[in-house]
Symmetry: none
Subunit: 132 residues, 4 copies
Amino acid sequence: MESIQVGNFKFSLDLSKPLYEQVLQHIRQAIARGDVQLGTKLPSVRDLALQLKLNPNTVMRAYQELDRDHLIETRRGQGTFITSDYETVDQVKKALASEAVIAFVSSMEKLGINRLAAETLLKEVVWHEYCD
Amino acid sequence: MESIQVGNFKFSLDLSKPLYEQVLQHIRQAIARGDVQLGTKLPSVRDLALQLKLNPNTVMRAYQELDRDHLIETRRGQGTFITSDYETVDQVKKALASEAVIAFVSSMEKLGINRLAAETLLKEVVWHEYCD
Amino acid sequence: MESIQVGNFKFSLDLSKPLYEQVLQHIRQAIARGDVQLGTKLPSVRDLALQLKLNPNTVMRAYQELDRDHLIETRRGQGTFITSDYETVDQVKKALASEAVIAFVSSMEKLGINRLAAETLLKEVVWHEYCD
Amino acid sequence: MESIQVGNFKFSLDLSKPLYEQVLQHIRQAIARGDVQLGTKLPSVRDLALQLKLNPNTVMRAYQELDRDHLIETRRGQGTFITSDYETVDQVKKALASEAVIAFVSSMEKLGINRLAAETLLKEVVWHEYCD
DNA sequence: GTGGTCTAGACCACA
DNA sequence: GTGGTCTAGACCACT
């Protein structure tokens, strides 16, 4: 799993998920995390595809989906830009966070792990992470 | 999303993921949760397929993947049985739990949400759940 | 994999191969190895099935195949007996041995392992076995 | 038993074992033997199926099992490739070789053939092979 | 009766 | 174009 830096974005792609989805997620997370300034220009589809060694269609699809969520906007002849609307970014961030939380709680329930045990597990992981 | 009860198993299938995987997960979770007794016979491939309105091959694939993880074992001409080895079950349960925890923590990190904020989110969800 | 002693025969059954074949092999090997005296009476089908917790049909099939090779013979109303013909036993033994040798050499060839390397591997295994 | 050449692979299929397993083994052995270069593209599922006169599903199953062992990797929409990781190949090769050796030694023991006699048999076979 | 293999053919997602 | 999933239905081996 190689990691490639393009502008302010860091991409690491593997085969476990669709490539367009991974590209999409990396960009979305960078925006949500605040790693990139709102209103900034994104690399062109062709450029990013070249650097990530991907088919332009793959990058295009990632951009399209981000556009659909209004996280980025394409201006004819000028390129693709990150939205300037903080509200949108915040909403997306909250939605993603909420999704992750729900997925986690749901997993614990499906495995029959109660809240206390789940919290213990969480602490263990956080603890291990600090060891790295 | 209809829910179907077969023996001690409850299945609810949708189209978001491969059917065989959903069947697999339901059975695996039931075993991990301790809902079914170890060593018990599973419904036959044909039987489960009939009740879930699936093709036998789809059910079979779920069974085969569980077999590879040693959570179930197939005895020629007799049927398919849940493993009697508690160790295996426990390991699988721990692996699944750990996977979920790591996915959650990773999501939070990718979104730039720190531990405190993450915990707050978790509590909110639990609170909402009680409302349902 | 539990091991069960019945008369002079030791059976250890698993799920990797057909049960009737495993029963057949255990008996055949015991005869080839000289562990049981020629002309001796075998346990009855019902008896062996009971002790091995198998379906009588399974044991029956094993006996039938051994009968086909004239390694055992069933005498109406008296039971099943190991052949008294040493020639037959010797031929079967040689055939099985030859089969094993050919399988081994074939495997090595298919993996592109030459004779020298194969011999080295063989010695390693034998050496490890002595450690046990 | 006809033999079919496809790219750098030679397939000869019979009815003694599942077809998907034979396909799997031929590819695995070719990789272990070093007959094909690591990182190379395999024939597409449909293509190989066509040439071997098999159903695509049969070929796919062979590919999937090889994928699980990390001997090959499938890249969405692009095709199936032999792993580039020499380590994995080497491990698999060693495992297969070891398996064959153990099977052989075990057979000899079960037949009550001692080491010296086994070595004699081995030499005979090699001798016969040169006659062919 | 059980599971396992195989075929034929449809439909989908991805690049 | 690629692989992945699913169905329908046949046939086989084992118990």
